[in-house]
């Protein structure tokens, strides 16, 4: 497991905190990622014409927005030391519910959106409830629910898309604010801020972290671990639904295949962003900013490699190699800092 030091959102208040705070920041995963991103961005911007064109920046930003949201959805359940294979299925189901509400039932968007998110939470609740009550690992439960949620969706829609949504939906996908910045990225940034506050400043958020890190100790401290774990799954469901809606805006339609077969296409970005960002798979520690940076890192790398026009079939191998080199470089940075006694 990566040894991420604690949250960079820690307030650097009284005297004795300041010294170690700076060092910790320098050692943190987030800092390393930010450094790598800056480096990659700089190199690509200088060597690849078109990389910094407004269109390219717009698509990169939009991709970061969506992938981060998917990552956050998974992160919310990784907190418990569990996982949710059904994030993709939930996202697509919620998007299809949204499509139905907005296109067929004529529900106005300001109502359809929260309804779809609530629907995602309900699916998350089902996952959480079964996980807690059965005591079976969430891997198996969500493996089954992934199949069931997606199966019901495909059965009901017969794999047909909703492609006559109100025009505001596709418009959202193309909307740019402040030059090349996608509105979807802005939405994600807002959610990131909210989640950072949630995990740091609310009882429920803290209880989630405690229950995830050591369920027994949390239980013995009077936390209702079962309910908290269900809440984590609900948060996951809601965020997955939001990611589904964002993807719907990007696609301009609610499409059953937008997360692939069973929604499995989401699994990679879902795990990659949080884990790169320093969220522990064993639970108990999250990094919202890290997840954002993780998604940004992967998106920028992918984008740069595509622009570099590496032989079409070799791109994947290069991507893997870059990822490996990046984490190795970050590890090296740690070691050098430590050896120099700078921390």
């Amino acid at each position: 497991m990566t040894d991420a030091t604690s949250n960079i959102l820690d307030e650097a208040t009284p005297e004795h905190r300041r010294g170690s705070g700076l060092m910790r920041l320098a050692l943190s995963n987030e800092f390393g990622l930010a450094l790598l991103i800056a480096l990659a961005f700089g190199i690509f911007a200088m060597t690849l014409p078109g990389f910094t064109s407004p269109f390219s920046l717009f698509t990169i930003g939009r991709q970061i927005g969506i992938d981060t949201m998917i990552g956050l959805a998974m992160m919310a359940v990784i907190v418990t030391g569990g996982l949710d294979l059904s994030v993709g299925a939930i996202g697509v189901c919620a998007a299809m519910v949204f499509g139905y509400l907005a296109q067929i039932a004529g529900v106005p968007l300001p109502l359809a959106i929260p309804l779809a998110i609530a629907f995602g939470s309900v699916l998350g609740f089902i996952n959480g409830y079964v996980v807690v009550r059965s005591g079976v690992h969430s891997f198996i439960i969500t493996l089954a629910s992934m199949s069931i949620f997606f199966g019901i969706m495909i059965f009901l829609t017969q794999a047909q898309s909703f492609n006559a949504l109100p025009l505001a939906v596709p418009a959202m996908g193309k909307l740019r604010v402040g030059g090349p910045i996608s509105i979807l990225l802005i939405i994600t940034l807002v959610v990131c801020a909210a989640l950072s506050i949630f995990y740091r400043y609310t009882t429920l958020g803290r209880q989630m972290l405690a229950a995830g890190a050591n369920a027994r100790a949390a239980e013995l401290s009077g936390i209702r671990t079962g309910r908290i774990i269900i809440a984590c799954h609900m948060l996951t469901g809601g965020l997955a639904a939001l990611a589904g809606l964002m993807l719907t805006a990007r696609t301009g339609a609610a499409v059953p295949s937008m997360a692939g077969h069973l929604g499995q296409d989401w699994l990679l970005p879902a795990f990659l962003a949080p884990v790169l960002g320093g969220t522990l798979l064993s639970g108990g520690r999250v990094s919202v900013i890290g997840t954002l940076l993780g998604a940004a890192f992967v998106t920028i790398m992918t984008s740069g490699l595509l622009l570099m026009r590496v032989g079409e079939f070799w791109i994947l191998a290069c991507l893997g190699l870059m990822l490996l080199l990046a984490v190795l470089a970050d590890r090296l940075r740690h070691q050098v800092l430590r050896a120099r006694g700078m921390i």
Binding site: S134, I140, I154, L324, V327
Partner: protein, 323 residues
């Protein structure tokens, strides 16, 4: 007496075993052809490959990590295996050795990086997945290799004895080998010790680096075996081999009682986990389920199988409490 009864029911494999048995009996009542020799043959062929895949993940689960690159190893070995036979006319026997070597080296390399850098196995094997899958695509350009020699095809196609395919042989060797490894060999115990409590293992003087490398090398070797078995079964070197291994490679061990956090695995349990998944897959076909509801039924059956096992565990816990 009651105690020994509880003991038996305490075993991880009993639950999945009972579920498999119930499923076999149930299905064969409604579909007598389920137990026809050819169907048994087909079932065993599927089980054989999937078991070796699951074992490849089981070692890594045992040490408390995960190997996302399992399928990429398998795919790369599969196409290399066929490629050296087709392009260089290497005899199958030598090609198998080459395949083993590639798998073991790939696994060992990722184990080395994980152990030496201390970076999460998730990230390293993910990078490995992309690298090895990328090499696979780079070599094949998504085109299959067709030059599978008849002897290899026969191995994947013919029966060893009655309805038992030859493919069962490597599975048996791998299963017994892994069972022996986990219960009797030093390396297996060290793998589980590290999975169970890494700090304790380290402080006790276990060479964690070497053990992690071993585990990943074994995982690579098993992935290679499964990849080549699939070539024999599919009769063709498909570049897509291994793409869909990941989830089932975890599902079978977990159904079989493995603890995802590491330190506890069951080879027999995993076997029945594989059997359950194979039976479910078959049942959906045998009963001509509408393709649009197949996924729903599949999910339901997984829950059912897990639920039964869970009931057993609760019973055992109750009996233990009383004892």
């Amino acid at each position: 007496m009651a105690l020994s009864f509880t003991r038996i029911f305490d075993n991880d494999w009993v639950g999945p075993g009972l579920v498999s048995l119930a499923a076999i009996i149930g299905i064969s009542i409604f579909q007598p052809s389920f137990l026809s020799p050819f169907n048994i043959f087909v079932l065993l062929s599927a089980i054989a490959v999937n078991m070796v895949i699951a074992l490849g993940q089981l070692v890594i689960i045992g040490i408390g990590q995960m190997n996302l690159a399992l399928g990429a190893f398998g795919g790369l070995v599969a196409i290399s295996f066929v490629a050296v036979m087709e392009l260089y006319g290497v005899p199958p026997f030598v090609a198998v050795i080459i395949g083993f070597a590639i798998g073991t080296l790939a696994g060992g390399a990722s184990g080395f990086v994980i152990a030496r850098t201390g970076i999460s196995a998730f990230i390293i094997t993910l990078a490995g997945l992309q690298i090895f899958k990328g090499i696979n695509l780079g070599i094949t350009e998504a085109q299959p290799f067709y030059g599978v020699p008849q002897s290899v095809k026969d191995f994947g196609n013919l029966s060893m004895l009655g309805p038992i395919p030859w493919l069962v042989l490597p599975m048996l060797i791998a299963s017994i080998g892994m069972w022996y490894l986990f219960t009797r060999l030093r390396i297996g115990r060290y793998i589980l010790a590290i999975g169970g409590n890494r700090t304790a293992a380290e402080l006790s003087g276990i060479n964690v680096t070497a053990t992690v490398i071993w585990a990943h090398a074994i995982s690579g070797l098993l992935a290679a075996t499964a990849g080549m078995m699939l070539v024999a079964r599919l009769q063709i070197g498909q570049p897509t081999i291994g793409d869909d291994w990941l989830i089932s490679s975890f599902a079978a061990p977990v159904i079989g009682g493995a603890v995802l956090a590491g330190g506890h695995v069951s080879v027999a349990g995993t076997f029945f986990g594989v059997v359950i998944i194979a039976i479910i897959t078959q049942a959906l076909v045998l009963f001509a389920i509408d393709p649009f509801v197949v996924q729903i039924v599949l999910g339901g059956l997984i829950l059912w199988a897990v639920g039964i096992n869970r009931l057993r565990e609760l019973r055992v816990a109750k009996l233990n409490e009383r004892a």
